[in-house]
Symmetry: C2
DNA sequence: TTATTTTTTTGAACAACGTTCATTAGTTTG
DNA sequence: CAAACTAATGAACGTTGTTCAAAAAAATAA
């Protein structure tokens, strides 16, 4: 029985090794410039081996997108020590945007690249657990704000989605080079400046 | 002199024909599933001819992204008959989101796909005129709102960028399948519901 | 018209991609 | 030690974007 155990462990290890190699190359030279052959080379295995452990490229991209959500979740943990939900909400946006900018390739994979969602579609997974979890962290915080009397006259889910939209939209425009295109007067700070405009607005609600 | 003129005209016509074929295929089967060979087949020319008229695939994608901005601009024209800037701003968002959802492949190309910006980078074009123009339409309207006494204590450019972010972010999440993933209670209307939350908020400013 | 030059179009060929699968190498079991 | 099984391999396939010598067509000159 122990040999079978070790084999299962080896399989998991090699799977993890492939993901680690893939992630390294993604961060180094971008997702689109990374090929299966690159990944195989990086960890000194053949292309064929990669396909033994992963159905296709989408499967690799999906698993790395999941690692991204673990990392984002990790950077969120300290937020849950903040008692005041409004304060937590404000900082949550900062953390989210910071993550997006400092890990733009990973953020792109998590929220823009089509592969992870295509993988979920064509597998027995029924839900985007990674996204649901992160969105719930936001929704719960907004709900607590409402319990404390903020956001009167607003609906929880649409409001939470709109807040997600603000931060995501601005990060997205930055990552996909659209902010660079319009030449703001203060391009270095436009993201945070934009977010602070949003904070000023919800402050009063 | 007239033969030279006709030749120049013919060149322009064939260039337009290629773009027309490319656009048709993009809308039919998506940008990623459309190949240069597909485009050449569609208009009964050879692959080589496409490369006589366009440097590479990025050049085609860029030119179609420009057509997209013309279409978006067209749908904006009737907005400028609206006198009240706040009213115009509200409707501008509706038009923008409507365009994004009804022309999602085109919207994606305009604001998410990397190719058009890469083309601008590697060409003598110094600015993203298409994006600048559209952003200015928003910025000017926000400026008029401020002149009328709205948005006190806010800065024009960051505020305009934030508003762009809200609508873009929500459309983006929808187009890249992330709203589908989180299973909202009312998925059919979440985009407009989210936008109306935003309208409720800026109403008071 | 006919010959020559110029322009336009062509598609075979190339390198690189994701993916497959018969074959080989290695390990475990009887 | 041999048989049975498992894991790893890399050549090969079909497609992709792209190139470029050659062919076809058109314009010009005689």
């Amino acid at each position: 029985m122990s040999t079978a155990d070790r084999k299962a462990r080896d399989k998991e290890n090699l799977k993890a090794l492939i993901l680690q190699g893939a992630k390294k190359l993604f961060l180094e030279k971008g997702i689109e410039q990374t090929t299966i052959r690159n990944i195989a080379d990086e960890i000194d295995y053949s292309v064929g081996t990669v396909y033994v452990y992963f159905k296709d490229k989408n499967a690799i991209l999906h698993d790395i997108h999941t690692i991204g959500f673990q990392e984002l979740g990790g950077s969120f943990t300290e937020l849950f020590t903040i008692e005041d939900p409004m304060d937590r909400l404000r900082k949550m946006g900062i953390f989210y945007m910071k993550f997006a900018i400092e890990n733009s390739e990973m953020y792109d994979l998590m929220f823009n690249v089509k592969a992870p969602m295509e993988f979920i579609e064509h597998s027995e997974k029924e839900e985007w657990n990674e996204g649901v979890g992160t969105f719930n962290a936001l929704k719960n915080t907004v709900a607590q704000c409402m319990e404390k009397g903020h956001f009167k006259g607003h609906s929880l889910e649409p409001l939470s989605f709109m807040i997600w939209g603000v931060v995501h939209g601005m990060c997205c425009l930055e990552i996909r080079q659209r902010t660079k295109g319009v030449k703001f007067s203060k391009p270095e700070t436009i993201l945070m400046d934009g977010y602070h405009e949003f904070l000023k607005i919800i402050e009063k609600l």
